[in-house]
Symmetry: none
Subunit: 218 residues, 2 copies
DNA sequence: CGCTCTATCTATAAAGG
DNA sequence: TCCTTTATAGATAGAGC
């Protein structure tokens, strides 16, 4: 895009990579902003640098949701703040913290006690112990990562399916009504385009578990 | 960016807006992809068009992580199959694995070498080293958990938002049609009641989204 | 000082009206 | 497709720590 054409592959030189990251990141965010404004699109963009630094952009309506969920905060605890819809198993992270603390404490204790009195064989035993301790910590964390992800993905899938179902039902309903009326009508456009005044109602991002309407005008 | 400079404000002409959306959207996604590749960044980008259509990009998928972990295979694969939409970035797990491997190796090496010759002070140095190694592993994993969860929650929020919008649209549509017809009608039952045979498709404790029917025929 | 990040400049590749 | 505008690679300098 500039003085010379470049290959799109990871930039080896660290400094050059950081500079490019900084420049392109800005360009990307600018374009995201422009697109959302020009075309009235809702956009959420999150970038983690290789060093873990976070950058984000969200168009206004989306932002509110995210903020309320306490996302994009570096604070883990805040991540797990109550969100009705996506209640995480934050208890697992507590368990994780606890286990790590215990393991660390145990390690320190082992290493601090009478090491002078240990012979080579005993020291090797200790090595094994430390190794397996590390492995256990690692495994425990892996378990927890997977549980979190499993749970979240599962819930995400539920949402997607529910979404599909709603769409199908809505379409079916519209079609049925059209058929009854014996003509097509415009409001379909309305169906597709949410009314902004309602759409930005942000007093509640949670799922309104609407009543399943099960009566028939009785 | 082109023949004439334009104002960054919503494009009035619908056709022009759609064309611009399409072009710029592609440009944006391309640049996101380039940035993630060039600079080894993790990126998640989601765009909803004004008509509610979803476009997304994530720098890599959770699927890969899971495969790499090779854990919980049977359960997990089933859970994760359906959701293209819920892909996570996790190139970081490779880095994690590497770090763990290195740490473990380093530990073993340290513990295996001339431990007989170390005095208490030196052993305490070693203790510190081991402790900080463990801490680094812990931190690395914590980072990754955080990223995964952040990404998943964020996408979950998107789904919720979309779901909510669909509900609102559906409700408005129903109301509009009823108003036009000036009478109640039967098919609503169909609309409102999800097909039971589908509804019990999973042992799900999840949210069942009913349409909120705000009736005025009572 | 060394290291990381940002700013500035220029010429050119890419975007997009 | 055309062709101007924008984005940005490359280089260098300066700021902040």
């Amino acid at each position: 895009m500039t003085r010379r054409k470049i290959q799109i592959k990871k930039i080896d030189n660290t400094t050059a990579r950081q500079v490019t990251f900084s420049k392109r990141r800005r360009g990307l965010f600018k374009k995201a902003q422009e697109l959302s404004t020009l075309c009235d699109a809702e956009i959420a963009l999150v970038v983690f640098s290789a060093t873990g630094k976070l950058f984000e952009f969200t168009s206004s309506s989306v932002q509110q949701v995210i903020e309320r969920h306490g996302l994009l905060s570096s604070n883990f605890d805040r991540l797990n703040q109550p969100s009705l819809e996506l209640q995480l198993e934050s208890s697992t992270s507590a368990a994780l913290r606890k286990e790590i603390a215990e393991n660390t404490h145990e390690l320190r204790k082992l290493m601090g006690e009478e090491l002078q009195e240990l012979n080579m064989k005993e020291l090797q035993e200790l090595e094994k112990l430390l190794g397996s301790g590390l492995r256990r910590v690692r495994d425990a964390k892996g378990e927890i990562v997977l549980k979190e992800i499993t749970s979240l993905k599962w819930k995400g899938s539920q949402m997607i399916q529910e979404n599909k179902r709603l769409k199908q039902m809505a379409n079916r309903q519209v079609q049925t009504l059209e058929l009854e009326r014996g003509q097509s009508f415009e409001p379909i456009g309305d169906f597709i385009h949410p009314d902004p005044s309602q759409d930005h109602d942000s007093s509640d991002t949670s799922l309104k578990l609407g009543l399943v309407y099960s009566t028939r005008f009785s």
